[in-house]
Assembly symmetry: C2
Homo-oligomer: 124 residues x 2
DNA sequence: TCGCATAGGGCTAAATTTTGCCCATATTGT
DNA sequence: ACAATATGGGCAAAATTTAGCCCTATGCGA
């Protein structure tokens, strides 16, 4: 694993939630798991832009942070199912708020984001 | 500026809000600006862990995304003040929710985050 | 027996973000 | 004159995250 060189900041609630949600695909993973897509292969199909590797890594992190639970069925080929823990479920309304805000302001957001990118071709 | 090589995903509201909030210090910046810390030097003092450079960069991004407005007073030494735009203000309740969730579950979160880091000294 | 699907981890390279340093401007205080 | 304050951007290096490739294991069907 990667060994951090700059210490984390864990002062307030915003730091703490950031620590568990930062990660390109984490919110999406929680979202789809909540919708009932439980198996890693399903999730990969739902999020085709992500590499299989990162999904695994981020699923592991979500699990270690107690947001999702993993069931390994002792079969071959292997079968694995994730589900939200009670703790993870408490987060869903908050994620719902995030998505709702983004949806409500989708036009404006798309406009400003794209404008920023036009300044230099393919910018961030 | 940095030239992106992997295209952005801007499908749903979650993608869109992520695009404007991703950045180590952005949420904190919005938070403090909302609390009335308007000048860059004040914000830097409130967020001493951040480099002055990034705060500038991220303030610029927040401005270009229409979340904050910048007033430059034609003085010397220069004086600058940021404030939330009406659009930015609509985001504050959502950030409030994030912080509230983090605060409510602070003990649990600190525990699981630290446990993850003990697995290997100084892990992420 | 080859190919596919399922799941996962090691490892390196690439992508992206953040840091830190330097330079520039103008004013006030020492 | 020199230091300090305030703001900001160029630039390269460091830190961190993500992508991609390879290897493992089992069972099913062509």
């Amino acid at each position: 694993m990667y060994e951090r060189k700059i210490p984390l900041t864990l002062n307030c609630g915003l730091d703490l939630i950031a620590e568990v949600l930062y990660g390109k695909w984490k919110i999406r993973l929680l979202w789809f798991i909540n919708e009932g897509y439980k198996r890693p292969s399903e999730l990969l199909r739902k999020i085709p832009d992500a590499s299989r590797r990162v999904l695994n890594v981020q699923l592991n992190e979500l699990e270690e942070h107690g947001l999702i639970a993993k069931i390994i069925y002792p079969q071959a080929p292997p079968k694995v199912e994730y589900s939200l823990t009670a703790f993870g479920q408490t987060l869903m309304p908050v994620i719902g708020e995030l998505g709702r805000w983004g949806d409500e302001h989708a036009d404006h957001l798309r406009a400003v984001i794209l404008k920023r990118m036009e300044q230099t071709p393919d910018d961030k």
